[in-house]
């Protein structure tokens, strides 16, 4: 094998895609990687899932395997920078292939690796913040641990809510000297040979779909919120209770293509929402055998092997499928129930459907275009995906940064991106 470059590979995003790419690169050769993650933990969106399809196992199951690979590997060659964001990207030299100088900003690390997550600090903390991991459905202390699988495994301080010097209660109660409230933000440069964009996605802002009432009606939630409601570590301890009155839901409507495949919102298909709703329908029915699930769809997209998953969901007698987009949702303000307007296309009649709670299958919006890149242009497509562009100059993409994809597809894309990076490096060293 040719000698690989000394310069590391920058991976933007420490979600499943980014971690997978990092592991594949380091396990295949001698190259080192730097993973930049804006959250204080690794694992990204997947960790916020209750279960993932098609096997319906909890996400920490797959995540632990990756953690073990990280720990058993040559640790010096994978560096994780959490709570960090890219400030600027510049080419080194004029020609392609010399690599990039990347400026990174890391938020103050108030808590060091001494932390044992004993939780004494949070007990004395007086301030509260909204729990963004649970999509703001509950709150937590200003010194908090993001989630049960958090890696690095330590607490965090939300600088927006912490009172710092005027309080310092956590600092005094910590037995392990893990808290330093004087920590400062750090800005530093690194030099990398190539870049993998694994910046993932965010859910589409469902409030923009005004006719579906998200944000106006409490019991209209999004699919990502449903995952947290169902999760044992979520705001309701794993019971699917509707937000308005904490009543256990028995009649849930899933509204597909909430934003996706809609020229007024996201013109593309987000690829996973059908499977996500089928999954949610399955676990809703498992958690509560009395419950009813109704899925409103344009067409159910379960390509390839996933057809079986559709068969599994649709074989349930209390799961109904209605072909027709929900055009409007209104609220019965007394009961908090929701009335959905649609045309049932198979019968050709308009229907009004009453549901306890509505789950909007909101689509995926790529985070890529939010990355600051200075004078380097990443060639995003019209929808913000970086699909096989800039590859000649050593910028690759994977996961949902590349195209809407499920976990399985993202990991495959990461393996592909890792190989591309290695090939790029070999070709580069030949040139050099």
């Amino acid at each position: 094998m040719s000698k690989l470059s000394e310069k590391p590979v920058l991976i933007i995003g420490g979600g499943f895609s980014g971690i997978s790419a990092a592991l594949e690169i380091t396990e295949a050769g001698n190259q080192s990687v730097i993973v930049v993650e804006k959250n204080p933990y690794l694992g990204g969106r997947v960790l916020q899932m209750y279960k993932y399809f098609p096997k319906l196992c909890p996400p920490f199951c797959g995540f632990e395997i990756n953690l073990r690979r990280i720990k058993s590997g040559d640790e010096g060659r994978i560096q994780f920078l959490v709570s960090s964001e890219i400030e600027e990207v510049n080419t080194i030299g004029s020609a392609d292939g010399k690599g990039y100088k990347v400026t990174i900003k890391q938020k103050p690390q108030y808590i060091n690796n001494n932390c044992t997550i004993c939780g004494e600090c949070a007990k004395v903390c007086t301030e509260n913040r909204l729990n963004d991991f649970n999509y703001n459905m509950d709150s937590q202390k200003a010194i908090y641990i993001t989630n049960i699988s958090a890696y690095p495994s330590k607490y965090n301080i939300d600088a927006e809510f912490c009172k710092f010097d005027s309080c310092k209660k956590c600092e005094s109660v910590c037995k392990y000297d893990a808290i330093n409230l004087n920590a400062k933000e750090e800005i530093f440069d690194i030099e990398v040979e190539s870049i993998i964009v694994a910046s993932g996605w965010k859910p589409y802002d469902a409030e923009k779909i005004t006719n579906l009432g998200f944000g106006r009606y409490k019991n209209v939630i999004t699919n990502v919120m449903m995952e947290r409601l169902a999760a044992d570590s979520g705001p309701t301890g794993g019971k699917i209770l509707r937000p308005s009155d904490n009543k256990e839901v028995t009649n849930v409507a899933f509204v597909q293509c909430a934003g996706s495949r809609n020229e007024n919102h996201l013109p593309y298909c987000s690829a996973i929402c059908c499977l996500a709703s089928l999954k949610q329908s399955i676990y809703l029915r498992e958690k509560n055998p009395e419950s009813n699930s109704t899925i409103f769809y344009i067409d159910i997209r379960t390509p390839g092997r996933y057809e079986k998953f559709y068969n599994r969901a649709s074989s349930d007698e209390k799961t109904k499928f209605i072909k027709g987009v929900v055009a409007n949702i209104s609220e019965d303000s007394l009961s908090g129930d929701l009335i959905l307007d649609a045309e049932d296309i198979l019968s050709g009649k308009k229907i009004k459907f009453r549901a306890d709670m509505v789950v909007l299958a909101s689509g995926m919006v790529p985070n890529g275009p939010d990355i600051k890149t200075g004078n380097i242009k990443f060639d995003y497509d019209a929808n913000g995906f970086l699909f096989n562009q800039n590859e000649n100059s050593g910028i690759f993409s994977t996961g949902v940064a590349k195209n809407p994809a499920d976990v399985y597809g993202s990991i495959q894309a990461s393996t592909g991106a890792a190989l591309s990076v290695l090939q790029f490096s070999v070709n580069n060293s030949k040139k050099g």
Binding site: N264, S347, I351
Partner: protein, 401 residues
């Protein structure tokens, strides 16, 4: 209706519909947003989703027998919310144009809708006929004045002659054409549906609704029923009914004037400065209605803010412009008479007035946009007949493909 779907599909029809409007109906993926969001389509037989697929597939029989395009008043919600930007509202407009050409057995309206030039030529031909008729009857110069005074309008152009040589023949031709087209429509939409038998009595009991709908266009107002919580007066004060009310104003003005000039021309074409009270009332109402109405709709079509005014077919413009010019020349003529302008002015202006008015009526009323004045209320009447006859209850899936 369900067993002839594939052998009735017609590729030319798809092209035709494409050419007479600006709907991107081929983009439709049948999600049903349009039907569900529509404030006026019925629960049992909603539109326009089914019209979208019929048009995509060129299902002529289904479309021909469909009354729903006439029940749509183009509030534009379907187009606004359509996830494919396929513009179902515009398709319904195109279908109204297409149906007009279907009901018309002469083929003239097909020509007029297809080509702007054809429409202009048709208008010019009728104008030329009017000109020739006038030349024969009254000559091309005002009659000479013996003692230097002015001749009154009725001395030059007697009202009875206008009645006998212009109004009545036109009236007969228009009525004959329109009635035959409406019968054609009846045949295609009601008689063709073998599943329904309409009790004879129903034709009479439903008549009142026909008249009511003709004058109020009450369905139009339902386009604005967005939130049921708001009262009628709240919506009125917010201007949500402006379009509907202006439309009613314009339509009634037109009807009043049409009846007036055809049957009571003497009231209008009078040499007296002071006319009878009721004719003043009608005169003013109609004049204001026509001028204000046409300007309002022209403004809407220029600014393109409302979904229904975004695309204008050439027949839409011809309709507004000719109506405005008719009203304008009519009002001027009256002013000339009242303020004693030279008789030659009156003579020529009257000729111009007729050369605009008559072509407009002859071309627009049976063959073009104006036919909707008849087709819309009659479609509601036919739809009521069919519904009351119980066809929908007996055959719930009859119209669904």
């Amino acid at each position: 209706m369900s067993n002839n779907t594939l052998n009735s599909n017609d590729i030319n029809l798809i092209k035709n519909i494409n050419n007479i409007g600006e709907s991107h109906f081929k983009k439709c993926f049948q999600c049903g947003t349009c039907s569900a969001i529509c404030p006026i389509s019925s629960d049992n037989k909603p539109f326009p989703r089914k019209e979208m697929i019929w048009s995509q597939w060129g299902l002529k029989n289904e479309l021909k027998s469909d009354l729903d395009p006439w029940l749509c008043y183009y509030c534009g919600k379907c187009s606004e919310y359509c996830p494919r930007k396929a513009d179902p509202g515009q398709l319904m407009m195109s279908l109204r144009r297409w149906l007009t050409t279907e009901y018309d057995w002469t083929g003239i309206s097909r020509l007029l809708y297809k080509s702007k030039i054809a429409e202009y030529i048709a208008l010019l031909i009728v104008a030329a006929v009017v000109f020739l008729e006038w030349a024969v009857l009254f000559g091309l110069t005002p009659p000479a004045v013996l003692n230097g005074g002015n001749l009154s309008i009725n001395q030059m152009v007697p009202a009875y002659k206008i009645d006998y040589f212009f109004d009545y023949p036109m009236m007969v031709i228009l009525s004959a054409l329109l009635i035959s087209f409406i019968f054609n429509m009846f045949n295609k939409t009601v008689l063709s549906d073998k599943k329904i038998k309409i009790p004879f009595k129903l034709y009479f009991t439903e008549l009142w609704a026909l008249i009511f709908n003709f004058f109020t266009q009450i369905r139009f107002s339902k386009c604005e029923d967005e939130s049921e919580k708001e009262s009628f007066f709240k919506k009125l004060s917010e201007g949500k009914y402006n379009f509907w009310l202006t439309h009613v104003f314009l339509m009634t003005s037109y009807v009043v004037l049409f009846i007036g000039i055809v049957f009571f021309l003497k009231w209008f074409q009078t040499d007296d400065k002071y006319v009878m009270f009721h004719s003043i009332l009608f005169d003013y109402y109609a004049s204001i209605g026509l001028i204000f109405g046409t300007m309002y709709f022209a403004f809407q079509r220029f600014t393109k803010k409302k979904e229904r005014s975004k695309f204008s077919h050439h027949t839409d413009w011809a309709f507004i412009v000719l109506l405005f010019l008719t009203a304008l020349t009519g009002i001027l003529l009256r002013a000339f008479v009242v303020y004693k302008y030279p008789s030659s002015w009156i003579f020529y202006l009257y000729l111009i007035h007729l050369m605009i008015l008559i072509p407009m009526l002859v071309i627009e009323v049976p063959f073009s946009k104006w036919s909707h004045l008849a087709y819309r209320p009659i479609a509601i009447y036919f739809a009521n007949l069919k519904e009351k006859a119980g066809s929908f209850e007996k055959q719930p899936n009859a119209d669904i493909e």
